[in-house]
Each structure stands twice: as structure tokens, then as C-alpha cells.
């Protein structure tokens, strides 16, 4: 039996197709989110990867910011529950999830069965999210994919103290004007993202194992900054951008079982 999870985010659309609730047969990330061709593109690519078609899918669960805009789903489930489900599937010992996506950051505490015990999300502010890194990368004349390479070569993180994305951008510009090395500034930007995400996690209790998911987990610089600040080991989820979609596909499997 095949089930599907689709995570329609603000910055990207992710699809995971699962066989019998166990094996990932397709996982695709389209780099555009809700309101674009992203969801359709991700669906088509996932079908191409798996050689399956819509008729083969028993159930579909949608999650993410655009979950209600995706009409072909059997059910919508919040990204909080889906991330918890996806991470627990990959790492049953995970107790804390730090998920940083395109426009939100969340810290989720899990119990031993993978249920959500508590969660905290950012408020109406994009500081400490993927958007923050996008803005900084543009000012620093690079792309988000290259940020980690730069910060690896940093001597020390430059001070980026503003929480606000707009003010932090001005700070980066003034650091550049002062002649600060791009590597150090980028390490400072990563440190700033880590602090913001950890501020959410610290509202609860940070328990190990800690797993990071979401697109920003692909940036080794941010992962290192979080590990440095917590003094704890951070595990990056496998294919971290698709964790929400994986969780949705797992929920879809549970739904499908109910019908059989």
C-alpha cells in the first residue's frame, strides 16, 4: 500500500510517498511554496521517481502553511504533529526537535512514544528562519547553499546583535563597510539564527536526543552554532526538508489502515 504526505510550506513544497508505512519510495523538494506551481511540480516529480500514479495512492495527508489550499488531500494535519511523527520514525530516541523552515522556527518536545509534549513557535517575525538567511545571503552576495562553506573558514563570529531581520541587515552592511571578513559575518549570522531558535527551545526543557529538521538543517554552519551554544550533540534528520511530508505520509498510512 502506498500513502503520500505533502508539505506545502511558505518557501518550498515537499512530497514523500511511502510503501506500507515503512519504506520511502519517493521524496522530492520543489523550491517554491504555497500559491505557486510548487505542489504540482513536487507531486509530478515524486510520481516520476516512484513510477506510481495518483490511483496507486491510498491516502494523502497535507501539512504546512498551505495545507488547506491543497485540495486533493484526505486530511490536513498541522506541521507540528507531522514533524514529530517524521522525526520519531527516523530517530525513536529523539526528545527535542528544532525545526527551522522558510518562515517559521519551532521547538518541539516529544515523549518516548513520539507524542508532542510541548511546542513553541516563533511569533510574527522571520528572524531566525530561512528567510533571515535568504536576506543575509543576498546582502553578502552569495547564496544560502554556500553560507556553511564560508562560516567554516571564520576566525570568530562577528557580532550580529539585532533580532530584527531589517536591523540585522543594516548591521551586516555596516560590518562589511568596516572591512569585516565575509566568513566572520556569516558565522555571526549563523550564531544569531541559532540563538533565536534556541530561545524557543529554552522556553521548554531541552532534552537529548536533539534532532534538527527543516531546510535550514542543511546548513552545517547553523547546526554547528546550535551545537556550540547548547554544548549538546545535534543530529540532522535524514533529508531534513522532507520530514514534515514524511510525517504526513505516516499519518496517511494510519488513516488508510483504518479503512482496511
Amino acid at each position: 500500500m502506498y500513502t503520500m504526505g505533502i508539505d506545502v510550506g511558505s518557501a518550498s513544497s515537499k512530497v514523500v510517498i511511502l510503501k506500507d508505512g515503512k519504506e520511502v519510495v519517493a521524496a522530492y523538494v520543489a523550491q517554491v511554496g504555497t500559491g505557486t506551481s510548487g505542489p504540482e511540480q513536487a507531486l509530478n516529480e515524486a510520481f516520476k521517481q516512484s513510477g506510481l500514479s495518483q490511483q496507486d495512492i491510498s491516502k494523502t495527508v497535507a501539512t504546512g502553511y498551505g495545507r488547506f489550499a491543497f485540495e486533493d488531500a484526505d486530511r490536513q494535519i498541522s506541521e507540528i504533529s507531522c514533524h514529530a511523527k517524521g522525526v520519531h520514525f527516523q530517530f525513536p530516541n529523539a526528545r527535542t526537535i528544532i525545526d527551522i523552515g522558510g518562515q517559521d522556527a519551532k521547538a518541539i518536545r516529544l515523549d518516548k512514544d513520539g507524542n508532542v509534549k510541548q511546542f513553541f513557535m516563533n511569533d510574527k517575525c522571520a528572524a531566525g528562519t530561512g528567510r533571515f538567511l535568504d536576506v543575509m545571503a543576498r546582502v553578502l552576495e552569495t547564496t544560502v547553499d554556500h553560507l556553511a562553506e564560508y562560516s567554516e573558514k571564520a576566525e570568530f563570529p562577528a557580532s550580529i546583535s539585532s533580532t530584527c531581520t531589517v536591523f540585522a541587515e543594516s548591521e551586516v552592511i555596516s560590518q562589511l563597510a568596516k572591512g569585516e571578513k565575509k566568513e566572520n559575518i556569516i558565522a555571526g549570522v549563523h550564531k544569531s539564527v541559532a540563538s533565536k531558535a534556541l530561545a524557543l527551545a529554552y522556553r521548554g526543557v531541552i532534552e537529548e536526543d536533539i534532532v534538527m529538521s527543516g531546510g535550514v538543517a542543511l546548513n552545517a554552519g547553523v547546526v554547528k552554532a546550535i551545537a556550540d551554544q547548547t554544548g549538546m550533540k545535534i543530529t540532522v534528520a535524514e533529508n531534513p526538508q522532507t520530514i514534515g511530508a514524511l510525517g504526513a505520509a505516516l499519518f496517511a498510512y494510519e488513516e488508510a489502515l483504518k479503512d482496511h
Partner: protein, 421 residues
């Protein structure tokens, strides 16, 4: 004939709210005094002296619910009030500017013509109390200073110590006595202690009916939809010391009892989960917040906010009244507040709780996380915190609210599936 004969409680609610404004307008036209009061200031003193009362916080909430807040917020901000100030204050200070301009020029500003709230009149006196927040003090002082009218302040110290020490009871009683003196000077006649006692008795009869409504939510399924607290609240705040409020709440209790008798309830078969709502309502999104939970078959049955006006004391006993106005929920220490939230959840049989992190009300919001964790430690019920605002729609995001509400529903589902409801 009784004007409210044949009306249901919601119609009576509308009738008496309109009447409170009408009474104030008539008083003003006839040269009688009108007071603007903060929502938990003791209204008994003014009522005893036949002073009509209007409530700026209520006015702001009503304008917010009617989507009229942005126009008033803009005027207050143009006047220089910072966007970080409480949005009730900004909405009311914006409206106040318009009333003042009208009084000074004799012309009605366009924004006042388009005002969506019930028309108010400028005050001759203001009364506020520190049992709620410090913002109210500055807000009412500003109004008094701009109009050059008396500002009666009932200073109520924060209750760090429990039970409330006698020295604090004496202090608050002293505040009451000074307020009486100020009113005697303003009215030019001695304080009417006989009427005061009658007003106190009426106030307690009203509160008893208000508490009865709240007690109905302990029934499962509940006949009362907790979001209706936010509607009926207008009367317990502004009309507490009048028979109209008592009659309205008694009617509401009668309707609920009738529903129970007929086997009816607010959501019928669809009452899947029950939640508590901690904090002030999001007035501009009252419908959205209600519907989000309704679509999840989740009924709000408990809230600490309407419970603030369960102001109980013994009529004729000033010390008891001092205790009543001091022990309000916003003026007690964290431990007591945590217990109060737990009690509300227990009485209303809630499966989870939503905390409103309200940009406007730092006083009620800054303790949310601590209370949430302490309550969860004791009752093991899931909670969510969302960011919003009581009247400034700029500080609320519907999509973010829906995601958090849905996650709360899923956490309650998971707990129910495990048999741990």
C-alpha cells in the same frame, strides 16, 4: 410594561448595553455627571452618587469586534501614542481625541461620523484602579489632565503575600474613603451611604448570577458556549451594580437550565474536546477563533478572563469590599494564579488550554509560559500559546493561530486515543 419582557438573554444584553450609553448621553444633556471608569474599578461609589458610568475598555473591545479599531488606532498613533501601548488604550485615546475635537470646534470630525461603536460622551470625572495594570493609570491620568477633571485612583497593591495582610486591607479601605471624599467635593453633597448599601447588595446579586452561568460549564456536555462569556461580559463589567445585569444573567441561567432539561447542549453530540482560554479575547477575530475550534468540535468551557468580575464581598463591610477588589486574578501572585487556572480547568472539565500571548496586555501574557508549565506539571493537559492582540489586528495572524489550534486538537486527540483524557 417591563421593557425587556419577552426578550431572550442576548436581546436583553443588547438592550442594557444600549441603555447604559443612552443613560450617559441623557445625563450629559441634563447637566448630570458622567464618569469614565476602568473595568475593575469599584463602580459602587459613583452609582451611589447617581453618576452615570461608561467604560473605555468595553468601548474599545466593542469597536474592535466591529472591525473599527484600525481607524481609532491611527488617530492615537498620530497623536504620538506608541504602537507598543495597549490597543484598548490606543483605541480609546483615538476616540477621545475625536470627541474632544468635536467639543472644542462644534464640528463632528469625519472619523467620528464613521465611528462604529455606540456614541459616548466625554467624562466629568474618571476613576481607575491599579488592581489591573499600570497602563490604565497613565491612560486615565492623561484624559483627566486633558479635560482638567478629577482623576480618582483606587490604588491596590499587588498581592505578593497570601492571605492578604490586614495592613493592605486597611490601605485599600483608606483609598475607598478618600474616593468618597473626592466624590463629595465633586457633587457638593454628602455621600449617600444608604444608596451605597443598596448598590453593593445589587452588585452581589448580579455577581451571584454571573457565577451561576460559569458553573453551568461544569456540565458535560456543556449547555453554555464559553465564547459567549466574551459577549455577556460587557454587562458584568459595565452594569454590575444595576438590576438589568442581574435580570439578564438570571434569564441566561434559566435558558441554560431549560436546555439541560430538554437534553440540549451547546455542541450537542459534537462536543469532542473542551478547552480553557487564558487571556483576553482577540476581539477583531472573535468569530474566527471560535469557528477554528468549532470546526474541530472543540468547545471552550473555561476562562480566567470573565472570572475577574466574580467580585465577591459582604455588603456593608468596607474591609470585605477592599479584599474583593484586591484579590482579582490579575493582582495575585504567580502561585495563586496558577491555582486559579488549574481550578478553572478542573471545574470546566477541560482537556487542554490555549494561552493568548497578547501584545497589548503584558501583565496577563508575560506569566503565560510559567503558568502553562506549572499547570501542565500538575494536570498533564496539553497547551498551546499563540501570539495575538485584543484589538490591534496588525498583531494577529489567522494562519498562525489556526496551526497552533490544530496542533492542540491533535495533542488532545493523541491523549484521548491513549485513554488519558
Amino acid at each position: 410594561m417591563n421593557q425587556t419582557e419577552g426578550m431572550n438573554s442576548k436581546q436583553m444584553l443588547g438592550h442594557y448595553i444600549n441603555k447604559s450609553f443612552q443613560d450617559a448621553r441623557e445625563a450629559k444633556a441634563n447637566g448630570k455627571l458622567v464618569c469614565w471608569s476602568s473595568s475593575v474599578a469599584p463602580d459602587e461609589f459613583c452609582r451611589a452618587m447617581d453618576i452615570e458610568i461608561l467604560y473605555p475598555e468595553n468601548m474599545a473591545a466593542a469597536v474592535g469586534a466591529k472591525k473599527g479599531a484600525p481607524d481609532m488606532l491611527k488617530i492615537a498613533e498620530q497623536k504620538g501614542y506608541n504602537v507598543d501601548i495597549c490597543s484598548y488604550a490606543r483605541v480609546n485615546l483615538g476616540y477621545f481625541e475625536l470627541l474632544k475635537e468635536q467639543a472644542l470646534t462644534g464640528k463632528t470630525p469625519e472619523a467620528l461620523e464613521n465611528y462604529v461603536g455606540e456614541p459616548a460622551v466625554l467624562p466629568d470625572v474618571v476613576i481607575t484602579s491599579t488592581n489591573l495594570c499600570g497602563t490604565l493609570l497613565k491612560w486615565f491620568e492623561n484624559i483627566a489632565a486633558e479635560l482638567n477633571i478629577p482623576c480618582i485612583v483606587i490604588d491596590v497593591p499587588f498581592n505578593y503575600e497570601r492571605p492578604m495582610p490586614q495592613r493592605m486591607v486597611n490601605y485599600v479601605k483608606g483609598q475607598f474613603e478618600y474616593a468618597i471624599k473626592q466624590l463629595e467635593e465633586l457633587c457638593g453633597r454628602p455621600f449617600d451611604y444608604d444608596k451605597f448599601l443598596e448598590v453593593q447588595k445589587q452588585s452581589q446579586r448580579t455577581v451571584a448570577q454571573w457565577d451561576k452561568i460559569a458553573s453551568m460549564t461544569s456540565l458535560k456536555p456543556s449547555p453554555f458556549n464559553g465564547f459567549d462569556f466574551f459577549n455577556y461580559m460587557a454587562l458584568i463589567v459595565s452594569y454590575r451594580a444595576t438590576a438589568g445585569a442581574e435580570e439578564t444573567f438570571a434569564k441566561c441561567v434559566e435558558e441554560l437550565e431549560e436546555m439541560v432539561k430538554n437534553g440540549q447542549s451547546a455542541f450537542g453530540e459534537n462536543e469532542k474536546h473542551r478547552i480553557a482560554w487564558e487571556g483576553i479575547a482577540v476581539w477583531p477575530a472573535l468569530g474566527l477563533t471560535f469557528k477554528t475550534f468549532k470546526n474541530m468540535d472543540t468547545l471552550m468551557t473555561g476562562s480566567g478572563y470573565p472570572d475577574i468580575w466574580s467580585l465577591r464581598y459582604t455588603p456593608g463591610d468596607m474591609e470585605s469590599m477592599a479584599r474583593g477588589y484586591s484579590n482579582v486574578y490579575t493582582n495575585i501572585n504567580l502561585e495563586e494564579r496558577t491555582k486559579a487556572v488549574e481550578k478553572i480547568m478542573e471545574n470546566a472539565k477541560c482537556d487542554g488550554i490555549v494561552y493568548h500571548n497578547n501584545r497589548s496586555c503584558k501583565l496577563m501574557s508575560m506569566v503565560n509560559v510559567d503558568i502553562a508549565e506549572a499547570v501542565q506539571k500538575n494536570n498533564d493537559k496539553p497547551f498551546v500559546v499563540f501570539d495575538g492582540d485584543q484589538t490591534d489586528p496588525n498583531n494577529f495572524s489567522a494562519a498562525q493561530f489556526e496551526t497552533r489550534a490544530q496542533a492542540l486538537g491533535e495533542m488532545m486527540d493523541a491523549k484521548q486515543a491513549k485513554g488519558g483524557k
